[in-house]
Amino acid sequence: MLMTGNMAAAWGARLGRADYIPAYPITPQTEIIETIAKWVRLGEMDAKLVQMESEHSMLTAAGAASLAGARVFTATSSQGLLYALEMLYNISGWRAPMMLINVARALAAPITLEPDHNDVLAARDTGFLQFHAETCQEVLDLILLAYRVAEDSSVLLPAIVNLDGFYLSFTREKVTLPSEQDVSTFLPDYNPPNPFRANMPVSKGATVLNGALYSYFKYHMHTSSIRALSVFEEAALQFERIFGRSYSPVEPYMMDDAEFVIVISNSFSTIAKQAVRRLRERGFPAGLLKLRMLRPFPSSLVARYLSARRGVAVFDQNISLGSGGIIYPEVVASLYHRRNRPQLLLPVIGGLGGKQITVEEMEKIFEAIKNEIGAESPDPIFLMRQEELETTKNMVRTAKEVQI
């Protein structure tokens, strides 16, 4: 079936049998909640969709409903995610395994609608598990997998599934829809360990006012998050048996004999893979490692796949202003203690605000890896094509003239 990334996300809620969907519109996410609203109305989905007055109340209601025992699904983007950010820390602390879809969109100011990952990566420290999708099929499958992992009694943490705005949210791709029966086998009904029950009154969201106790809880959440990696791998094995599609926390692409590797996530992976294929045709030993799971960060897998390569570029579609890419230092840290770590770890920043990246640019990154090997401290690459730079300069010039 042909469908957009947003539709695939809505199917994730439907096949995952979400009970409750608090909602608030924001571009480019709105199609998800509208689709679910339509299905609920037609009786095709047995759930309650309620539009709230803001993302903050939406996420609060979502976390609370999850605690009360419902399987919860909601979706937002960009400013909406950041407005709700304080609730994300609370919801993970409540151990409420709800599902949040983020349709990536760059943050204001300046205001824009197109994607980069500063929004979703602002949530990286919240305790939410994080999965990033490259294709529409992956959006749907990762939602089912993420529910399964989040609700596992050894994890019990909420999850974010990220898809890129526009590039994936509005792009139609072929998606195989699993049967309801198969999904129920893979993802049984949510059975909350400590729901609100009349015969067992519990209080949630306690105050500790005690550093040791606070640290204990945070450490417990941290180890639970780390555990999510092996829980995911186990669930993925069953997923493959039932649905025939295989997912690992990282996806190696033409990596067997690759000497020069790009580390990337989300929709630009498709462009980078094309560059890898083209380089391979010319005999250049390129490879790609796609990060599918961002939290917990799959350090051991990253280290295993990247050790003994000659050079690696980390493509960050985000920027921590004053530092650089956000993923880069995490990859570097994963490799530091490996004796056979790559000679070069090249930081690359591109695609901010949805700036298009061409296959040629991706190829240039690989050339840069090769050329920079041996450099003492490689200069970070900030991708911008010559014609883009010219157009931008012209626009700035025009804006200046209009001002007078």
Binding site: I26, T27, T30, E34, E53, S54, E55, Q79, A108
Partner: protein, 288 residues
């Protein structure tokens, strides 16, 4: 050049709202009202949030600020507190001001901040193409309420009256002269002014005909906006859609006036050096 310009608030940028959108009427009325109030573009700041209506500051020749969804009021208050000589007007929609950012409106009314808030109310989220808004009617079918809304709409005007609002009015983009007059009065007002501007969305929730049929001018009926209880009654009228000034009192000091008594009339913007002729010359050179 503004002094020689017959239409000082006219911008070169053409508004890209849908043809027939009520927001065109609000933009025209605001420009007219500013000109009639004798203001110059450099004395005015127009701030907005996110939404169709919030594109307005881009279409008017004043200082402008396109902010965050729900936050035009705190942006306006911040500017006003730094430089109270500026006329600060916030323009946004019902999603911004009656929904996600309504708490700011309540507190600006309570403080009687000397800002003017024009809410383009169309009972729908237009920019995201047709979802439930805080002023959507009971039973209104939208993309997120396909069975009809089961939520009672907010009544912003009596809520703001209860919060201590000192100027509360409603107007309609289908009555441009009235709208310009209401905005002129809001500009004259000492303190916080809320102008609920009915501005129909012709694409997702067209209420033009309905409002045209039902609206009447309060002033045509000899209504005097000086009594709080009468204002509540007028706001809750069941015999149509009243437009006009429901409530107005000028005896309450604005927050900035009270602040001036404490800070001795010194403001942050006083420290901003005015443009000396040398700097001005160099700026002109740079721009040429």
């Amino acid at each position: 050049m503004p002094l020689l310009n017959p239409k000082p608030f006219e911008s070169d940028t053409r508004a890209d709202w849908c043809p027939g959108c009520g927001d065109f009427g609000v933009l025209a009325a605001l420009k007219d009202a500013l000109q009639k109030s004798g203001r110059q573009p450099h004395e005015v700041v127009v701030v907005s949030g996110i939404g169709c209506s919030s594109n307005l500051p881009g279409y008017i020749r004043t200082y402008g600020f396109h902010g965050l969804h729900g936050r035009p009021v705190p942006v306006a208050v911040g500017i006003k507190n730094a430089n109270p000589k500026l006329l600060v007007i916030a323009t946004a929609g019902d999603g911004d001001e009656y929904g996600i950012g309504f708490n700011h409106v309540v507190h600006a009314a309570r403080r009687n901040d000397d800002i003017k808030l024009i809410v383009m109310n169309n009972e729908i989220y237009g920019l995201t193409t047709g979802q439930l808004s805080p002023t959507s009617k009971l039973g209104q079918k939208t993309k997120t309420s396909p069975d009809g809304s089961i939520i009672y709409p907010l009544k912003p005007l009596p809520t703001i009256l209860g919060a201590g609002g000192t100027f509360i009015a409603r107007t309609f983009s289908g009555d441009p002269k009235h709208m310009s007059w209401v905005i002129q009065e809001a500009i004259k007002h000492r303190g916080f002014a809320l102008v609920d501007a009915i501005s129909p969305c012709v694409t997702w929730h067209n209420i033009y005909d309905e409002v045209k049929k039902l609206f009447y001018r309060l002033e045509d009926r000899g209504y005097k906006p000086d009594d709080e209880n009468e204002a509540y009654k007028a706001m809750n009228a069941q015999d149509g859609i009243p437009i006009g000034i429901f409530y107005r009192r000028e005896d309450k000091q604005s927050f900035q006036e009270r602040l001036a008594e404490i800070n001795g009339g010194r403001w942050a913007a006083d420290n901003v050096k005015s443009l000396g002729s040398e700097i001005a010359q160099s700026l002109v050179q740079e721009m040429l």
